[in-house]
Structures are given as structure tokens and as C-alpha cells.
Amino acid sequence: MAFAAFGSSAAPVEQAPRKRSWIAFVLLAPGLAYLALFFLAPFVSLIITSLSTPVEFGDVGQYQPAFKLENYATVVEQYWPHFLRAFGYALAATFFALVISYPLAYFIGVKARKWPLLQALMLTLVIAPFFISFLLRTLAWKQLMSDDTPLVHALKALSILPQDGHLTGTAFSVIFGLTYNFIPFMTLPIYATLERLDTRYLEAGSDLYASPATTFWKVTVPLSMPGVVSGTLLTFIPASGDFINASASFLGSAQTQMVGNAIEANFLSLLNYPAAAAMSVILMAIILLIVGTYVKRSGTEDLL
């Protein structure tokens, strides 16, 4: 929704007299200063930190500016599985969230139009998870999936899970948690585009003897693409940087650590700031690359 709003709100702008553009700068100045100070400058700090080197004979966590590009090579060598897991898990979670969200968003946005009260109720339920701490929700899943729960016993009885198997601490539980956490972020933008879908297009499809399936794939899906693009980005980006679900006290274990866990550990426990900063820069660069190509290829460049 956030991404879509950036694109759509550009159209109905009134042409204001040019000479008053100084007012615009007065209005913008405080916000721009804030962004420069606390968004752009931190990026510069991050890059400087990522290239710095330990102070000779200094304490742990003391670094001085340098141009140590090896920091990047070192973290890639040491943490490439964490990067792979981060993007792999995020991709899987985005896929599952889409599979769960699209039909739900379609039902709320198109089928439930006749009943506004039902529509409002279902929308409230979709955003309900936002109102309760996401750490507690994730812990709830951990406890529901932990050993000795009815769920795990049932899976073992059905031989879906081996007798000595666990649900928590696996790639499955991490992807499960990520999927769960980001379903509302996927559902809402898709709902927002489907809600505006003109159903006469669907009637036109069936008038032209297209099967419901053909109408769906040739009319509904293309028209809802802006919502799908927003939703997948709103899921994929935060999921790839997440470290809660994969953390050992939540749904993960030492074998499921994502790049977020590595950044957290290096920054806050090991005080290896250059490594943490280098990984952050790499993560950001990969995400910008993926987002750029994805938005271009899906033909919705006006999102930016």
C-alpha cells in the first residue's frame, strides 16, 4: 500500500504558481534536514565503518578509519551461507505469503463487495496481528510447535515427522514464521488494487467466451499486478533482513541463522563493527539490485 501510494498520488497535483516554490522549501527543510542527518549520514557512517581497521594495541571494539576492502571479502567468505539462507528463506516466505494472501485479498476485495460489513470485519481481522506484539506472536508459534505439543505428536503419529524430529529450530519453522509475520503486508496492497477492480472487465471476459480461469489469468491478475509487486516487496525486503524468526530463542537454531543474525551478533556481542557494517552494506546493495530489476521487469516503474 505504501509503495502504491507513492505512485498514485502524483497525478492530481494542482499546478501552483512557480514563484511560491520557496514555501515548498520552507515546508520541506526540517524533514529534509532530519533525513540527511539520520538517514543519509548513517549510510556514510556505515560505509566508513565497514572499511575501518582495529586500533593497534587497542581494546576490543576500537576501530580507526582505513580503506580495508578485505573486510568485505572476509565477511563474504565467513557468512555466505547466512546470505544464502536469508534470501532463500525470504523468497520462500514471499511465495507462501502470496499463495495464502491472493485468494484472501480477492475474496475481501471482489467477492465481499456486496456485504460491506463482512468486508470491514475481514479487513479488521487481517490487520489484527499488527495490534499485538510480533515477538509474542512468534513466541506463540514456537510454543505451539515445540516438542511434546499435540501438533508434533500428531505429525509423528502420521509419520510426517520422524520420531526424533523437531519442528522448531528448522528451516521449516523459520520460513513458517516469516510467512506468518508478513501475510498482512502481502494481503493489504493486493486487496487495495483488487478493491478498485472494475468487475465489468470480468463480465467482458466471459462475454467474449473466455473461461473463468482465462479471465482470471488474463484480466484479474494483470490488473492486480501493482498490488502484487508492492506486497512482494513489502514482504521480501523486511523478511531478508529479519533476525527474530531465525534466532535460537524464537523459531530458529544455530543451523538457521540468517544474515540479520550475523549482523546482530557482530555488532552487539562481538563488537566487530566493520564486519557488521560490511554485511549491512552488502545486504542493502543486493536488495536495491533485486528491487530495481524486479520493478523494471514487472513493468510498474511508476511505483517509484
Binding site: F39, S45, F130, G241
Partner: protein
Amino acid sequence: MSRFSLGKWLLPLYSVLALIFLLIPIAYTFVFSFNSSIKSNIVWSGFTLDNWLTVCNDASVCQAFGTSIFVGVVATVIATGLGTLMALALSRYKFRGRSAVSLLLFLPMATPEIVLGAGLAAQFLSAGVPKGLGTIIIAHALFCLSFVVVTVKARVASLDPALEEAGRDLYGSSAQVFWRITFPLLLPGITAAALLSFALSFDDFIITRFNNGAVTTFPVYIYTAAARGVPAEANVIASFVFILAIVLVVVSQTTAAARRKRLEKLG
């Protein structure tokens, strides 16, 4: 009407199941706020109201909750103030560099929280700023800012320019037109933006984790407690906030529906 008869039942059923899936952890958190466990709140050991009645017996939970409210309010005021001004500038004026400003506002939303958090932490570290309440508020206001701009901008775009023209036709000065027409019409958008900011700030953990120092917000409290078991009092607070938020949503939706009905009658 035989076409897609399967879809007739399948789609509603699928949607209901998806919603139930979304609600399971909420129900779990709520139910376990009534658990009479003494040490860790993992195994169900009987129903009690004690956790609700004596929620602040363990002061640390309530302190963390209070800190989160304080941080949320201050960060929301900053973000809503700065963001509303920026939204007005972006939607009302044409100026050079407008798309650059839009891009600059879009970027924080496209940046993973962990990068924002680590970046700010690196910045505070190199500037020698001690982490604490102030750094948490700065960080929260930063990531709320873009969401405020998006929300308020959408509201400005939906305003009917004829209303402001009418004000000018009636010889209203530009200040009068703004404060008596534009601003009241924008207020619902600004309120929505403020509520969104507060919700984002209240539940943020990832950015806070990198910038909190020794200060404990409610999510930080849960994260620290997670390793040894979160006490039921945390479930009580989370459930209370949840109920409050749902009541707010329902009240605002019903009043909006009532207003629409009244307008339909007039028109």
C-alpha cells in the same frame, strides 16, 4: 450457474481458514494471559485472573510498557509534524528536485530495518552519542516519517480543490483558507498517520535493538525474557493493547459508516 461452483465454496472456506491462521497466535497470547503458572508461562496450569489484577507486581514489565508509550508519543509527534509539512510541500507545489525528495522518502521504506538500525548505531558510535531514550526516539521518528508522508499525501490528493476555491471566492485570506478549510479536511489523514506512527513505534524491535543502550522498551523486554520464558504479565499487557486497538478500529469504522449514511441522506 454451474460455472465455478467449486469456487463458490472453496474461496470463502480458504479465506476463513487463512483468517483463522492469522488469529491463532493472538488467541494463544490471550489465553495464556490467564495462565496460573508461577515460573515460566509455557505449560498450561490452570485459569487465574491474578495476572490481570496484579499486572504491575513485577514492575519491570510495566516500566517497559511505559517507556514504549513515551517513546511512541514523542516519536509520533516528531514524525507527524515533519511528515505533514513535507506531504503538503510535495502535493501542493511544483519545484525542482521534487522527484529526488520523493525518492529520498521512499528509500527508508525500501531499506531493511536492520540496515537502518545498524547505520544509526554506527553513526551514534562514531559521533560519540551515548545510546538511550534519545537515540531510540530519533530512530523511531526516522522510520515513521516516510509512512506519515505517504498517508497525509494520499489525503491531500483526495481533497476537492473546489472547497478551497470557494473559500478564496469568499475573500478568505490564504491563512484563513488553510486553517479553516484545508487543515480540518486534512485532520483525518493526519490522525491516521499519527496512529500508524505510534503503532509502528510501539511494536518496533529490530531498530530499537541497535540503539536502545540500557533502556528497555516493551519489545526489548520480551526479547530479553524470551530466552528464559516470558511472564504472563507481558501477555496481559499485549492483550490489553490489542483489545484497546480493536475497540478503536471498530468505533472509528462505525462512526465513518454513520457519517457516510448521513451524507447520503443529505445528497
